[in-house]
Protein backbone atom coordinates (compact mmCIF):
# COMPACT_ATOMS: atom_id res chain seq x y z
CA UNK A 1 0.00 0.00 0.00
CA UNK A 2 2.99 2.25 0.58
CA UNK A 3 3.99 2.18 -3.01
CA UNK A 4 0.46 3.23 -3.88
CA UNK A 5 0.96 6.44 -1.99
CA UNK A 6 4.38 7.31 -3.30
CA UNK A 7 3.74 6.87 -7.01
CA UNK A 8 2.29 10.05 -8.39
CA UNK A 9 -0.34 9.53 -11.05
CA UNK A 10 1.32 10.62 -14.26
CA UNK A 11 -1.63 12.57 -15.57
CA UNK A 12 -2.95 15.52 -13.63
CA UNK A 13 -6.54 14.89 -12.72
CA UNK A 14 -8.27 17.92 -14.09
CA UNK A 15 -12.01 18.15 -14.30
CA UNK A 16 -12.09 18.06 -18.05
CA UNK A 17 -15.27 18.93 -19.79
CA UNK A 18 -16.77 16.38 -22.12
CA UNK A 19 -18.07 19.12 -24.36
CA UNK A 20 -15.09 19.68 -26.59
CA UNK A 21 -16.06 18.33 -29.93
CA UNK A 22 -12.97 18.06 -32.06
CA UNK A 23 -12.33 15.68 -34.91
CA UNK A 24 -8.93 14.08 -35.03
CA UNK A 25 -7.15 14.93 -38.26
CA UNK A 26 -6.07 11.33 -38.77
CA UNK A 27 -9.68 10.21 -38.48
CA UNK A 28 -10.80 12.62 -41.15
CA UNK A 29 -8.02 11.44 -43.44
CA UNK A 30 -9.01 7.83 -42.81
CA UNK A 31 -12.64 8.55 -43.67
CA UNK A 32 -11.58 10.29 -46.86
CA UNK A 33 -9.36 7.37 -47.88
CA UNK A 34 -12.07 4.82 -47.14
CA UNK A 35 -14.72 6.69 -49.08
CA UNK A 36 -12.37 7.38 -51.99
CA UNK A 37 -11.48 3.71 -52.32
CA UNK A 38 -15.10 2.62 -52.30
CA UNK A 39 -15.93 5.30 -54.84
CA UNK A 40 -13.08 4.12 -57.02
CA UNK A 41 -14.42 0.56 -57.03
CA UNK A 42 -17.86 1.73 -58.12
CA UNK A 43 -16.47 4.23 -60.61
CA UNK A 44 -14.38 1.50 -62.22
CA UNK A 45 -17.43 -0.66 -62.78
CA UNK A 46 -19.56 2.19 -64.09
CA UNK A 47 -16.70 3.33 -66.31
CA UNK A 48 -16.10 -0.13 -67.74
CA UNK A 49 -19.76 -0.83 -68.45
CA UNK A 50 -20.54 2.54 -69.97
CA UNK A 51 -17.41 2.57 -72.12
CA UNK A 52 -18.13 -0.89 -73.48
CA UNK A 53 -21.76 0.00 -74.15
CA UNK A 54 -20.75 3.29 -75.77
CA UNK A 55 -18.30 1.58 -78.09
CA UNK A 56 -20.16 -1.64 -78.74
CA UNK A 57 -23.89 -1.12 -78.48
CA UNK A 58 -24.35 0.03 -82.06
CA UNK A 59 -22.53 -3.05 -83.38
CA UNK A 60 -24.96 -5.44 -81.77
CA UNK A 61 -28.05 -6.13 -83.83
CA UNK A 62 -30.04 -9.14 -85.02
CA UNK A 63 -27.75 -9.76 -87.96
CA UNK A 64 -24.64 -9.60 -85.75
CA UNK A 65 -26.12 -12.23 -83.48
CA UNK A 66 -27.47 -14.56 -86.18
CA UNK A 67 -24.74 -14.54 -88.84
CA UNK A 68 -21.28 -15.94 -89.14
CA UNK A 69 -18.46 -13.68 -90.25
CA UNK A 70 -17.73 -14.56 -93.86
CA UNK A 71 -15.78 -12.74 -96.53
CA UNK A 72 -17.68 -14.55 -99.30
CA UNK A 73 -21.10 -13.50 -98.05
CA UNK A 74 -19.88 -10.19 -96.71
CA UNK A 75 -21.51 -10.85 -93.35
CA UNK A 76 -20.19 -10.02 -89.90
CA UNK A 77 -21.55 -11.95 -86.96
CA UNK A 78 -20.93 -14.13 -83.98
CA UNK A 79 -23.63 -16.81 -84.36
CA UNK A 80 -20.96 -19.52 -84.61
CA UNK A 81 -19.30 -18.39 -81.41
CA UNK A 82 -22.61 -18.25 -79.58
CA UNK A 83 -23.35 -21.82 -80.66
CA UNK A 84 -19.86 -22.93 -79.64
CA UNK A 85 -20.28 -21.32 -76.23
CA UNK A 86 -23.60 -23.10 -75.73
CA UNK A 87 -22.06 -26.40 -76.81
CA UNK A 88 -19.24 -25.94 -74.36
CA UNK A 89 -21.60 -25.05 -71.50
CA UNK A 90 -23.79 -28.11 -72.05
CA UNK A 91 -20.89 -30.52 -72.59
CA UNK A 92 -18.99 -29.28 -69.57
CA UNK A 93 -21.90 -29.19 -67.17
CA UNK A 94 -23.26 -32.60 -68.19
CA UNK A 95 -20.01 -34.06 -66.91
CA UNK A 96 -19.07 -31.65 -64.15
CA UNK A 97 -22.42 -31.46 -62.35
CA UNK A 98 -22.73 -35.14 -61.36
CA UNK A 99 -19.07 -35.42 -60.41
CA UNK A 100 -19.07 -32.17 -58.46
CA UNK A 101 -22.30 -32.98 -56.64
CA UNK A 102 -21.13 -36.54 -56.02
CA UNK A 103 -17.89 -35.35 -54.46
CA UNK A 104 -19.80 -32.93 -52.24
CA UNK A 105 -22.19 -35.68 -51.12
CA UNK A 106 -19.25 -37.91 -50.30
CA UNK A 107 -17.49 -35.21 -48.30
CA UNK A 108 -20.58 -34.11 -46.40
CA UNK A 109 -22.51 -37.35 -45.92
CA UNK A 110 -20.08 -40.28 -46.02
CA UNK A 111 -16.55 -39.23 -45.26
CA UNK A 112 -15.28 -39.18 -41.73
CA UNK A 113 -12.71 -36.49 -40.92
CA UNK A 114 -9.27 -37.89 -41.63
CA UNK A 115 -6.35 -37.95 -44.00
CA UNK A 116 -8.35 -38.72 -47.15
CA UNK A 117 -10.80 -35.89 -46.54
CA UNK A 118 -8.12 -33.34 -45.86
CA UNK A 119 -6.26 -34.41 -49.01
CA UNK A 120 -9.47 -34.10 -51.04
CA UNK A 121 -10.19 -30.69 -49.54
CA UNK A 122 -6.66 -29.58 -50.32
CA UNK A 123 -7.02 -30.90 -53.88
CA UNK A 124 -10.21 -28.88 -54.32
CA UNK A 125 -8.53 -25.72 -53.01
CA UNK A 126 -5.56 -26.33 -55.30
CA UNK A 127 -7.78 -26.89 -58.34
CA UNK A 128 -9.55 -23.63 -57.54
CA UNK A 129 -6.22 -21.83 -57.33
CA UNK A 130 -4.55 -23.10 -60.50
CA UNK A 131 -4.54 -20.39 -63.17
CA UNK A 132 -6.52 -21.06 -66.32
CA UNK A 133 -3.46 -20.93 -68.58
CA UNK A 134 -2.11 -23.99 -66.75
CA UNK A 135 -5.41 -25.79 -67.28
CA UNK A 136 -5.07 -24.82 -70.94
CA UNK A 137 -1.61 -26.36 -71.20
CA UNK A 138 -2.71 -29.50 -69.39
CA UNK A 139 -5.86 -29.86 -71.49
CA UNK A 140 -3.87 -29.44 -74.66
CA UNK A 141 -1.37 -32.20 -73.87
CA UNK A 142 -3.64 -34.52 -71.88
CA UNK A 143 -7.03 -34.43 -73.60
CA UNK A 144 -5.71 -33.07 -76.90
CA UNK A 145 -2.60 -35.19 -77.39
CA UNK A 146 -2.78 -38.18 -75.01
CA UNK A 147 -6.52 -38.73 -75.57
CA UNK A 148 -6.12 -37.75 -79.22
CA UNK A 149 -9.01 -35.29 -79.19
CA UNK A 150 -6.95 -32.55 -80.82
CA UNK A 151 -8.33 -29.02 -80.97
CA UNK A 152 -11.97 -29.78 -80.33
CA UNK A 153 -14.94 -28.79 -78.26
CA UNK A 154 -14.47 -32.03 -76.29
CA UNK A 155 -10.91 -31.09 -75.37
CA UNK A 156 -12.18 -27.68 -74.27
CA UNK A 157 -15.12 -29.11 -72.36
CA UNK A 158 -13.05 -31.70 -70.49
CA UNK A 159 -10.56 -29.00 -69.56
CA UNK A 160 -13.37 -26.79 -68.32
CA UNK A 161 -14.75 -29.69 -66.26
CA UNK A 162 -11.60 -29.63 -64.15
CA UNK A 163 -11.86 -25.87 -63.74
CA UNK A 164 -15.49 -25.71 -62.64
CA UNK A 165 -15.53 -28.80 -60.41
CA UNK A 166 -14.44 -26.86 -57.30
CA UNK A 167 -17.25 -24.33 -57.84
CA UNK A 168 -19.95 -27.00 -58.08
CA UNK A 169 -18.56 -29.02 -55.19
CA UNK A 170 -18.15 -26.07 -52.85
CA UNK A 171 -21.64 -24.71 -53.47
CA UNK A 172 -23.26 -28.12 -53.14
CA UNK A 173 -21.37 -28.75 -49.93
CA UNK A 174 -22.51 -25.44 -48.47
CA UNK A 175 -26.09 -26.29 -49.41
CA UNK A 176 -25.88 -29.77 -47.90
CA UNK A 177 -24.59 -28.29 -44.67
CA UNK A 178 -27.74 -26.19 -44.32
CA UNK A 179 -30.05 -29.23 -44.57
CA UNK A 180 -31.09 -29.86 -40.98
CA UNK A 181 -30.00 -33.14 -39.41
CA UNK A 182 -33.58 -33.87 -38.47
CA UNK A 183 -34.31 -34.56 -42.15
CA UNK A 184 -31.58 -37.18 -42.25
CA UNK A 185 -32.52 -38.79 -38.98
CA UNK A 186 -36.18 -38.68 -39.94
CA UNK A 187 -35.63 -40.46 -43.23
CA UNK A 188 -33.28 -43.07 -41.82
CA UNK A 189 -35.71 -43.59 -38.94
CA UNK A 190 -38.40 -44.52 -41.47
CA UNK A 191 -36.19 -47.34 -42.65
CA UNK A 192 -34.99 -45.84 -45.92
CA UNK A 193 -31.43 -46.53 -46.95
CA UNK A 194 -28.85 -43.78 -47.03
CA UNK A 195 -28.76 -43.65 -50.80
CA UNK A 196 -32.54 -43.37 -50.95
CA UNK A 197 -32.45 -40.64 -48.34
CA UNK A 198 -29.83 -38.71 -50.32
CA UNK A 199 -31.83 -39.04 -53.53
CA UNK A 200 -35.22 -38.14 -52.14
CA UNK A 201 -34.48 -35.78 -49.28
CA UNK A 202 -30.99 -34.29 -49.38
CA UNK A 203 -30.48 -33.47 -53.03
CA UNK A 204 -33.90 -31.85 -53.48
CA UNK A 205 -33.35 -29.74 -50.35
CA UNK A 206 -29.91 -28.73 -51.58
CA UNK A 207 -31.14 -27.99 -55.10
CA UNK A 208 -30.94 -24.18 -54.91
CA UNK A 209 -27.30 -24.44 -53.82
CA UNK A 210 -26.51 -26.93 -56.58
CA UNK A 211 -28.16 -24.69 -59.16
CA UNK A 212 -26.22 -21.69 -57.86
CA UNK A 213 -23.00 -23.64 -58.30
CA UNK A 214 -23.99 -24.66 -61.82
CA UNK A 215 -24.84 -21.09 -62.78
CA UNK A 216 -21.56 -19.79 -61.36
CA UNK A 217 -19.79 -22.50 -63.35
CA UNK A 218 -21.60 -21.40 -66.50
CA UNK A 219 -20.45 -17.86 -65.80
CA UNK A 220 -16.90 -19.15 -65.53
CA UNK A 221 -17.19 -20.97 -68.87
CA UNK A 222 -18.65 -17.92 -70.60
CA UNK A 223 -15.83 -15.72 -69.32
CA UNK A 224 -12.97 -18.19 -69.76
CA UNK A 225 -10.42 -17.69 -72.48
CA UNK A 226 -6.88 -18.72 -71.57
CA UNK A 227 -7.86 -22.34 -70.93
CA UNK A 228 -9.72 -22.60 -74.23
CA UNK A 229 -7.29 -21.00 -76.64
CA UNK A 230 -5.19 -24.15 -76.98
CA UNK A 231 -7.92 -26.70 -76.32
CA UNK A 232 -11.21 -25.81 -78.00
CA UNK A 233 -9.53 -23.76 -80.69
CA UNK A 234 -11.05 -20.91 -82.61
CA UNK A 235 -13.26 -22.12 -85.46
CA UNK A 236 -16.56 -20.30 -85.83
CA UNK A 237 -18.62 -22.25 -88.35
CA UNK A 238 -22.14 -23.40 -87.63
CA UNK A 239 -23.08 -27.05 -87.89
CA UNK A 240 -24.15 -27.47 -91.52
CA UNK A 241 -26.92 -29.96 -90.98
CA UNK A 242 -28.77 -31.84 -88.30
CA UNK A 243 -26.37 -34.75 -88.68
CA UNK A 244 -23.43 -32.52 -87.96
CA UNK A 245 -24.69 -31.65 -84.50
CA UNK A 246 -22.82 -34.46 -82.77
CA UNK A 247 -19.86 -34.40 -85.07
CA UNK A 248 -19.29 -30.79 -84.18
CA UNK A 249 -18.21 -31.79 -80.70
CA UNK A 250 -15.11 -33.33 -82.26
CA UNK A 251 -14.31 -30.16 -84.16
CA UNK A 252 -12.60 -27.01 -83.08
CA UNK A 253 -14.86 -24.21 -81.89
CA UNK A 254 -14.07 -20.76 -80.53
CA UNK A 255 -16.28 -19.26 -77.83
CA UNK A 256 -17.30 -15.60 -77.59
CA UNK A 257 -14.30 -14.72 -75.44
CA UNK A 258 -11.87 -16.41 -77.82
CA UNK A 259 -13.39 -14.53 -80.74
CA UNK A 260 -13.13 -11.31 -78.78
CA UNK A 261 -9.45 -11.97 -78.17
CA UNK A 262 -8.79 -12.85 -81.80
CA UNK A 263 -10.71 -9.83 -83.09
CA UNK A 264 -8.82 -7.60 -80.71
CA UNK A 265 -5.45 -9.00 -81.82
CA UNK A 266 -6.41 -8.44 -85.44
CA UNK A 267 -7.52 -4.88 -84.77
CA UNK A 268 -11.21 -5.55 -85.48
CA UNK A 269 -12.25 -3.44 -82.52
CA UNK A 270 -15.88 -3.03 -83.59
CA UNK A 271 -16.48 -6.74 -83.44
CA UNK A 272 -14.50 -6.97 -80.19
CA UNK A 273 -16.68 -4.36 -78.51
CA UNK A 274 -19.81 -5.93 -79.93
CA UNK A 275 -18.86 -9.24 -78.32
CA UNK A 276 -17.92 -7.41 -75.11
CA UNK A 277 -21.46 -6.01 -74.93
CA UNK A 278 -22.96 -9.47 -75.40
CA UNK A 279 -20.63 -10.91 -72.73
CA UNK A 280 -21.44 -8.14 -70.27
CA UNK A 281 -25.16 -8.74 -70.71
CA UNK A 282 -24.72 -12.46 -70.07
CA UNK A 283 -22.52 -11.85 -67.03
CA UNK A 284 -25.03 -9.37 -65.63
CA UNK A 285 -27.88 -11.83 -66.06
CA UNK A 286 -25.93 -14.60 -64.39
CA UNK A 287 -25.14 -12.28 -61.51
CA UNK A 288 -28.78 -11.34 -61.04
CA UNK A 289 -29.86 -14.96 -61.33
CA UNK A 290 -27.51 -16.11 -58.57
CA UNK A 291 -28.75 -13.25 -56.37
CA UNK A 292 -32.36 -14.26 -56.89
CA UNK A 293 -31.52 -17.87 -56.12
CA UNK A 294 -29.57 -16.93 -53.03
CA UNK A 295 -32.54 -14.92 -51.75
CA UNK A 296 -34.88 -17.80 -52.40
CA UNK A 297 -32.50 -20.07 -50.56
CA UNK A 298 -32.48 -17.70 -47.61
CA UNK A 299 -36.27 -17.68 -47.55
CA UNK A 300 -36.27 -21.46 -47.53
CA UNK A 301 -33.92 -21.44 -44.58
CA UNK A 302 -36.07 -18.97 -42.69
CA UNK A 303 -39.19 -21.01 -43.35
CA UNK A 304 -37.66 -23.93 -41.55
Amino acid sequence: MDSQATVVMPQEKVKSSIAKKKQRKKDILAYIAVYLSATLAVALLVGIISYVLFKGARVVNISFLTHVTSFLDGTVGIAGNIVNTLYLIVMTMVIATPIGVGAAVYLNEYAKPGKLVSIIEFAIETLAGIPSIIFGLFGMVFFGATFGLGYSLWTGALTMVLMVLPLVTKNTKEALKTVPDSYRVGAIGLGTGKWHMIRTILLPSAMPGIITGVILAIGRIVGESAALLFTAGSAKILPASFNDLLEKTMQSGGTLTIQLYLSMSKGEYDIAFGIAVVLLVIVLEINILTKVLANKFDLNKKAK
Binding site: M9, S16, A19, K20
Partner: protein, 253 residues
Protein backbone atom coordinates in the same frame (compact mmCIF):
# COMPACT_ATOMS: atom_id res chain seq x y z
CA UNK B 1 -20.68 14.36 4.98
CA UNK B 2 -23.26 13.66 2.30
CA UNK B 3 -21.66 12.51 -0.94
CA UNK B 4 -22.25 14.61 -4.02
CA UNK B 5 -24.25 13.51 -7.02
CA UNK B 6 -22.03 12.33 -9.86
CA UNK B 7 -24.63 11.31 -12.41
CA UNK B 8 -28.11 12.72 -12.53
CA UNK B 9 -30.79 11.04 -14.62
CA UNK B 10 -34.16 12.67 -15.26
CA UNK B 11 -37.19 11.37 -17.17
CA UNK B 12 -35.15 8.98 -19.27
CA UNK B 13 -37.02 7.00 -21.93
CA UNK B 14 -35.39 4.61 -24.36
CA UNK B 15 -36.89 2.89 -27.38
CA UNK B 16 -35.55 0.01 -29.46
CA UNK B 17 -37.60 0.69 -32.56
CA UNK B 18 -41.16 0.34 -31.25
CA UNK B 19 -40.09 -1.36 -28.04
CA UNK B 20 -40.24 0.94 -25.02
CA UNK B 21 -37.23 -0.47 -23.18
CA UNK B 22 -36.76 2.13 -20.42
CA UNK B 23 -39.66 4.06 -18.95
CA UNK B 24 -39.20 7.39 -17.24
CA UNK B 25 -36.13 6.57 -15.17
CA UNK B 26 -34.97 9.08 -12.53
CA UNK B 27 -31.89 8.56 -10.43
CA UNK B 28 -29.00 10.29 -8.64
CA UNK B 29 -25.82 8.28 -8.54
CA UNK B 30 -23.48 9.41 -5.77
CA UNK B 31 -19.78 9.82 -6.28
CA UNK B 32 -17.22 7.47 -4.74
CA UNK B 33 -19.76 4.82 -3.94
CA UNK B 34 -20.98 1.58 -5.44
CA UNK B 35 -24.44 1.63 -6.98
CA UNK B 36 -25.96 -1.68 -8.00
CA UNK B 37 -28.73 -2.37 -10.52
CA UNK B 38 -30.67 -5.55 -9.96
CA UNK B 39 -33.66 -7.15 -11.64
CA UNK B 40 -34.64 -10.15 -13.77
CA UNK B 41 -33.12 -10.59 -17.26
CA UNK B 42 -34.54 -8.25 -19.85
CA UNK B 43 -35.61 -5.71 -17.22
CA UNK B 44 -33.50 -2.95 -18.78
CA UNK B 45 -30.74 -2.71 -16.18
CA UNK B 46 -27.94 -3.33 -18.71
CA UNK B 47 -29.57 -1.08 -21.26
CA UNK B 48 -29.74 1.67 -18.66
CA UNK B 49 -26.08 1.19 -17.78
CA UNK B 50 -25.15 1.64 -21.42
CA UNK B 51 -27.06 4.91 -21.69
CA UNK B 52 -24.63 6.33 -19.14
CA UNK B 53 -21.61 6.14 -21.48
CA UNK B 54 -23.64 6.26 -24.69
CA UNK B 55 -22.72 2.77 -25.83
CA UNK B 56 -26.34 2.47 -26.97
CA UNK B 57 -25.50 4.98 -29.71
CA UNK B 58 -23.91 2.08 -31.57
CA UNK B 59 -27.27 0.38 -32.03
CA UNK B 60 -29.08 1.71 -35.08
CA UNK B 61 -32.68 1.77 -33.98
CA UNK B 62 -32.24 3.30 -30.53
CA UNK B 63 -33.99 6.51 -29.57
CA UNK B 64 -33.37 8.20 -26.25
CA UNK B 65 -35.37 10.98 -24.53
CA UNK B 66 -34.62 12.68 -21.26
CA UNK B 67 -31.64 14.04 -19.42
CA UNK B 68 -28.43 12.40 -18.24
CA UNK B 69 -25.94 14.70 -16.57
CA UNK B 70 -22.37 13.91 -15.60
CA UNK B 71 -20.95 16.59 -13.29
CA UNK B 72 -23.84 18.82 -14.37
CA UNK B 73 -23.09 18.45 -18.07
CA UNK B 74 -25.72 16.86 -20.32
CA UNK B 75 -24.00 13.88 -21.90
CA UNK B 76 -26.54 13.83 -24.73
CA UNK B 77 -25.85 17.50 -25.49
CA UNK B 78 -25.08 18.50 -29.04
CA UNK B 79 -21.40 19.31 -28.66
CA UNK B 80 -20.50 16.29 -26.57
CA UNK B 81 -17.52 14.31 -27.75
CA UNK B 82 -18.38 10.68 -26.98
CA UNK B 83 -14.70 9.75 -26.89
CA UNK B 84 -14.09 12.24 -24.06
CA UNK B 85 -17.23 11.05 -22.34
CA UNK B 86 -16.11 7.44 -22.52
CA UNK B 87 -12.68 8.44 -21.26
CA UNK B 88 -14.37 9.80 -18.15
CA UNK B 89 -16.78 6.88 -17.83
CA UNK B 90 -14.99 3.56 -18.20
CA UNK B 91 -16.73 0.26 -18.75
CA UNK B 92 -16.14 -3.39 -17.91
CA UNK B 93 -18.16 -5.97 -19.81
CA UNK B 94 -19.93 -9.18 -18.92
CA UNK B 95 -17.49 -11.37 -20.86
CA UNK B 96 -13.82 -10.61 -20.27
CA UNK B 97 -12.76 -9.11 -23.60
CA UNK B 98 -9.04 -8.41 -23.62
CA UNK B 99 -7.58 -7.49 -27.00
CA UNK B 100 -5.52 -10.17 -28.74
CA UNK B 101 -2.25 -8.47 -27.78
CA UNK B 102 0.16 -8.42 -24.86
CA UNK B 103 -0.95 -7.54 -21.34
CA UNK B 104 1.11 -4.36 -21.51
CA UNK B 105 -0.40 -3.29 -24.83
CA UNK B 106 -3.90 -4.00 -23.54
CA UNK B 107 -3.45 -1.59 -20.67
CA UNK B 108 -1.53 0.96 -22.73
CA UNK B 109 -4.14 0.91 -25.50
CA UNK B 110 -6.40 3.53 -23.92
CA UNK B 111 -3.66 6.01 -22.97
CA UNK B 112 -2.07 5.62 -26.41
CA UNK B 113 -5.39 6.27 -28.12
CA UNK B 114 -5.62 9.46 -26.08
CA UNK B 115 -2.23 10.59 -27.27
CA UNK B 116 0.27 9.46 -24.63
CA UNK B 117 3.43 8.24 -26.35
CA UNK B 118 6.11 8.68 -23.71
CA UNK B 119 7.45 5.27 -22.78
CA UNK B 120 8.16 6.05 -19.13
CA UNK B 121 4.79 7.58 -18.65
CA UNK B 122 3.11 4.53 -20.22
CA UNK B 123 5.15 2.21 -18.03
CA UNK B 124 3.97 4.02 -14.96
CA UNK B 125 0.35 4.06 -16.07
CA UNK B 126 0.44 0.34 -16.82
CA UNK B 127 1.89 -0.49 -13.43
CA UNK B 128 -0.49 1.82 -11.58
CA UNK B 129 -3.51 0.46 -13.40
CA UNK B 130 -2.53 -3.17 -12.84
CA UNK B 131 -1.98 -2.41 -9.13
CA UNK B 132 -5.32 -0.63 -9.04
CA UNK B 133 -6.99 -3.76 -10.38
CA UNK B 134 -5.07 -5.96 -7.88
CA UNK B 135 -3.41 -8.04 -10.55
CA UNK B 136 0.04 -6.51 -10.84
CA UNK B 137 1.82 -9.15 -8.76
CA UNK B 138 0.26 -11.96 -10.76
CA UNK B 139 1.34 -10.64 -14.17
CA UNK B 140 4.38 -8.44 -13.57
CA UNK B 141 6.74 -11.06 -15.03
CA UNK B 142 4.72 -11.64 -18.18
CA UNK B 143 3.65 -8.18 -19.28
CA UNK B 144 4.81 -8.87 -22.84
CA UNK B 145 2.84 -12.12 -23.08
CA UNK B 146 -0.59 -12.31 -24.67
CA UNK B 147 -3.47 -11.41 -22.40
CA UNK B 148 -5.46 -14.27 -23.91
CA UNK B 149 -3.26 -16.75 -22.01
CA UNK B 150 -4.66 -15.66 -18.64
CA UNK B 151 -7.54 -17.26 -16.76
CA UNK B 152 -11.02 -15.79 -17.07
CA UNK B 153 -10.81 -14.07 -13.68
CA UNK B 154 -7.40 -12.62 -14.48
CA UNK B 155 -8.63 -11.48 -17.87
CA UNK B 156 -11.50 -9.65 -16.24
CA UNK B 157 -9.15 -7.85 -13.87
CA UNK B 158 -6.96 -6.96 -16.88
CA UNK B 159 -10.08 -5.44 -18.40
CA UNK B 160 -10.67 -3.46 -15.21
CA UNK B 161 -7.04 -2.30 -15.26
CA UNK B 162 -7.46 -1.36 -18.91
CA UNK B 163 -10.46 0.77 -18.00
CA UNK B 164 -8.56 2.41 -15.12
CA UNK B 165 -5.63 3.29 -17.39
CA UNK B 166 -7.51 6.17 -19.01
CA UNK B 167 -8.20 7.55 -15.50
CA UNK B 168 -11.96 7.63 -15.54
CA UNK B 169 -14.16 9.17 -12.84
CA UNK B 170 -16.83 6.53 -13.20
CA UNK B 171 -16.58 2.80 -13.75
CA UNK B 172 -19.55 0.97 -15.25
CA UNK B 173 -19.53 -2.79 -14.73
CA UNK B 174 -21.98 -4.91 -16.66
CA UNK B 175 -22.39 -8.19 -14.75
CA UNK B 176 -18.61 -8.36 -14.40
CA UNK B 177 -18.55 -11.69 -12.57
CA UNK B 178 -21.26 -13.64 -14.36
CA UNK B 179 -18.70 -15.53 -16.44
CA UNK B 180 -16.34 -16.21 -13.54
CA UNK B 181 -15.82 -18.88 -10.89
CA UNK B 182 -16.56 -18.11 -7.20
CA UNK B 183 -12.93 -17.43 -6.26
CA UNK B 184 -12.41 -14.95 -9.08
CA UNK B 185 -15.77 -13.41 -8.23
CA UNK B 186 -14.70 -12.85 -4.65
CA UNK B 187 -11.51 -11.16 -5.81
CA UNK B 188 -13.44 -8.78 -8.04
CA UNK B 189 -15.94 -7.97 -5.30
CA UNK B 190 -13.07 -7.21 -2.94
CA UNK B 191 -11.61 -5.00 -5.63
CA UNK B 192 -14.84 -3.03 -5.98
CA UNK B 193 -14.56 -2.06 -2.34
CA UNK B 194 -11.08 -0.67 -3.05
CA UNK B 195 -12.18 1.03 -6.25
CA UNK B 196 -14.95 3.07 -4.69
CA UNK B 197 -12.39 5.04 -2.71
CA UNK B 198 -11.35 6.71 -5.94
CA UNK B 199 -14.07 6.02 -8.45
CA UNK B 200 -17.81 6.11 -8.77
CA UNK B 201 -18.75 2.50 -9.46
CA UNK B 202 -22.00 1.39 -11.05
CA UNK B 203 -22.51 -2.36 -11.28
CA UNK B 204 -25.22 -4.39 -12.94
CA UNK B 205 -25.69 -7.77 -11.33
CA UNK B 206 -28.02 -10.69 -11.62
CA UNK B 207 -26.93 -11.81 -8.20
CA UNK B 208 -28.73 -10.18 -5.26
CA UNK B 209 -26.20 -11.37 -2.70
CA UNK B 210 -23.53 -9.60 -4.71
CA UNK B 211 -25.51 -6.38 -4.61
CA UNK B 212 -25.85 -6.73 -0.84
CA UNK B 213 -22.14 -7.43 -0.44
CA UNK B 214 -20.70 -4.70 -2.63
CA UNK B 215 -23.12 -1.83 -3.03
CA UNK B 216 -24.05 1.24 -1.03
CA UNK B 217 -27.20 1.87 -2.99
CA UNK B 218 -29.35 -0.40 -5.10
CA UNK B 219 -31.90 0.16 -7.85
CA UNK B 220 -34.43 -2.51 -8.73
CA UNK B 221 -35.62 -2.67 -12.36
CA UNK B 222 -38.62 -4.49 -13.78
CA UNK B 223 -39.73 -4.47 -17.44
CA UNK B 224 -38.09 -1.16 -18.22
CA UNK B 225 -39.22 0.57 -15.07
CA UNK B 226 -37.08 1.57 -12.11
CA UNK B 227 -39.28 0.26 -9.34
CA UNK B 228 -37.26 1.23 -6.31
CA UNK B 229 -33.98 2.97 -5.52
CA UNK B 230 -32.65 3.16 -1.99
CA UNK B 231 -29.72 2.52 0.30
CA UNK B 232 -28.89 -1.14 -0.18
CA UNK B 233 -29.51 -2.21 3.38
CA UNK B 234 -32.84 -0.40 3.45
CA UNK B 235 -33.94 -1.76 0.11
CA UNK B 236 -33.30 -5.32 1.13
CA UNK B 237 -34.51 -4.94 4.73
CA UNK B 238 -37.57 -2.80 4.17
CA UNK B 239 -38.63 -2.89 0.52
CA UNK B 240 -41.29 -0.27 -0.05
CA UNK B 241 -42.75 -1.73 -3.21
CA UNK B 242 -44.57 -5.07 -3.29
CA UNK B 243 -42.75 -6.02 -6.52
CA UNK B 244 -39.36 -5.42 -4.95
CA UNK B 245 -40.32 -7.56 -2.02
CA UNK B 246 -41.53 -10.34 -4.33
CA UNK B 247 -38.25 -10.23 -6.24
CA UNK B 248 -35.86 -10.21 -3.29
CA UNK B 249 -37.78 -12.92 -1.51
CA UNK B 250 -37.41 -15.01 -4.64
CA UNK B 251 -41.04 -15.14 -5.65
CA UNK B 252 -40.11 -14.49 -9.28
CA UNK B 253 -37.14 -13.72 -11.50
Amino acid sequence: MEKQTKIKVRNLDLFYGANHALKNVNMDIKEKSVTAFIGPSGCGKSTFLKTLNRMNDLVDSVKIDGLVELDNENIYGEDVDTTLLRKKIGMVFQQPNPFPMSIYDNIAYGPRVHGIKDKNKLDRIVEESLRGAAIFDEVKDRLKKSALGLSGGQQQRICIARALAVQPDVLLMDEPTSALDPISTAKIEELMDELKKKYTVVVVTHNMQQAVRVSDETAFFLVGEMVEFNRTKDLFAYPKDKRTEDYITGRFG
